[in-house]
């Protein structure tokens, strides 16, 4: 998104204000935000900066994703991950963000290939074998913190996988 003021730089400051009861949102680049005297520059300039509020305190050392080169410091600065592997590498730093933003930490929606029919309010989960179904149930059990059920499902999955089903 371009800056509403100079129309040149990318907007990084998103100011929503209420003037005479009307909500106005201005998208500005950092330079224009500072230049505009009417805009109070907030301690967090962008949503990504704001997100850093959810990160843990100081880290002893910087971690780096060997696959794409993203560093933990880089992630904390931009709020962006570099590749799928980053999710594992920076897992402990991402968890607080997930909790802060989504409240939840476990996916319960569609998987690749599932057909969600919103008009009918249904979900078709085709080509799932028994283990996949149990894994989904396990995720749901963890999501609602039903750990007793989760442990039972985990054992059942381990048994089925051992049997090669």
């Amino acid at each position: 998104m371009l800056c509403d003021n100079c129309l040149k730089n990318t907007a990084s400051v998103h100011m929503t204000s209420f003037v005479n009861g009307q909500m106005q949102t201005l998208h500005l680049c950092a330079q224009c935000a500072i230049k505009k005297k009417s805009v109070a520059v907030m301690p967090w300039l962008s949503f990504n900066d704001f997100l850093s509020a959810f990160y843990d305190g100081e880290d002893a050392q910087d971690i780096k994703c060997e696959y794409c080169g993203t560093t933990l410091a880089g992630f904390k600065k931009t709020g962006k991950l570099g590749c799928a592997a980053c999710y594992k590498v920076f897992e402990s730093s991402i968890q607080p963000v997930l909790k802060g933003v989504h409240i939840n930490t476990v996916h319960t929606g569609k998987r690749p290939g599932d057909v969600v029919n919103a008009a009918a309010g249904t979900e078709e989960r085709p080509e799932r074998n028994k283990t996949d179904e149990l894994k989904q149930k396990l995720r749901e059990a963890v999501a609602v913190e039903n750990f007793e059920e989760a442990a039972r499902l985990r054992d059942e999955i381990a048994f089925l996988e051992k049997e090669g089903k």
């Binding site: 371009l2 949503f47 962006k80 939840n104 930490t105 979900e123």
Partner: protein, 334 residues
């Protein structure tokens, strides 16, 4: 705006529905870290080979578009300013642009579907179909626990962002938007002005969308947004009636002044057009003005935006565009 129908459900308050899905390929770095030309090519080719099997779709590399073409697409919410500014982006869309995929934006793929009025389910179902077409041809980055992996953890899980463009002139006039914003925030949704410019906010158009994408199913997200929107629609309709009964002729005057300007003015800026159409649409919903539907008015508003006019008329300067816009509006409203 060929996809836009002017007789859509709840179109006196809800202008349009947008559904967006964030998707990435599993073994290629996300766009912010991608560097190898073959990786970039893989992202483009993945979308092309999955979707161009349907004759409905057309692929364009952003670099092949003129500056004006890009601005028209940004204005129509088909691409983002970020995609337009980059050199690696592409766009794949159907003929009326109701369904599209932005390639190499913040994520490898941003799938989008647009609908008129309040049409969350229908619009989502089109995006879901597109998702399964694309997912059939590429290997999505998907984690059993975290769902679809996205460049920013704020989109992880379903990757689904559903948003409604709502016209809330009465709640705005009654100074109720701050309260609405707070209430909507409590149920995990956000409200923001639909148009960037400060002047345009006077048209009272807002986007309401879900903030949470992880740990909720697609159907849950849609039904929560729908319930939230229905509540806001009730508030807005109630406030419109209340305003009319309190203000009476003062409100009628404001509406008819807007109609008068649309019928006779010789220069109208984009922001002013939005405000005038907003006032006229309010008048239509209260039965003060007849002969137009709210949906028709919103369509006129979207068809008279700056880049669209520039592209249609070849008039590039703002002052010249304002004259063309006034001419178009006079033709329609006379």
């Amino acid at each position: 705006m060929r996809w836009f129908k002017d007789d859509a459900p709840e179109c006196d308050v809800v202008v349009s529905t947008r559904v967006r899905l964030a998707r990435n390929i599993s073994d290629v770095p996300f766009p912010s870290r991608i560097s190898l030309p073959e990786d970039i090519n893989k992202v483009h080719e993945g979308a092309k080979s999955s979707l161009l099997v349907s004759p409905e779709f057309e692929y364009t590399h952003i670099a092949d578009l003129t500056e004006l073409d890009r601005r028209v697409l940004i204005e129509g919410h088909i691409i983002s300013a970020e995609l337009a500014a980059g050199k690696n982006g592409g766009i794949l869309c159907n003929k009326d642009k109701s369904v599209s995929v932005m390639i190499m934006e913040e994520d490898h793929y941003r799938l989008q579907s647009l609908g008129s009025g309040l049409s969350l389910n229908k619009t989502y179902d089109l995006a879901d179909k597109l998702d399964n077409m694309l997912g059939g041809g590429v290997n999505y980055a998907f984690d059993e626990k975290l769902g679809f992996l996205s460049s920013c953890p704020t989109n992880v899980g379903t990757g689904l962002r559903a948003s409604l463009m709502m016209h809330l002139p009465a709640l705005t006039a009654a100074k109720g938007m701050q309260r609405i914003s707070a209430l909507v925030g409590k149920v995990g949704m956000t409200v923001r002005g639909a148009f960037g410019e400060g002047s345009a906010a006077s048209g009272a158009f807002y986007q309401i969308s879900n903030q949470i994408t992880l740990g909720v199913t697609e159907n849950e997200i849609l039904s929560r947004l729908s319930s939230t929107a229905k509540k806001v629609i009730d508030f807005e309709r109630g406030t419109r009636k209340e305003l009319f009964s309190t203000l009476g002729v003062m409100l009628e005057d404001r509406v008819w002044r807007a109609v008068g300007l649309l019928k006779h003015a010789r220069r109208i800026s984009d922001g002013e057009a939005q405000k005038l159409i907003s006032d006229t649409a309010l008048g239509v919903s209260l039965g003060i003005v007849s002969g137009f539907t709210s949906g028709r008015l919103y369509k006129i508003m979207m068809d008279t935006r700056p880049a669209t006019i520039a592209s249609l008329s070849g008039r590039l300067k703002p002052q010249e565009r304002d004259i063309v816009r006034a001419d178009m509006l006079r033709d329609i409203f006379a």
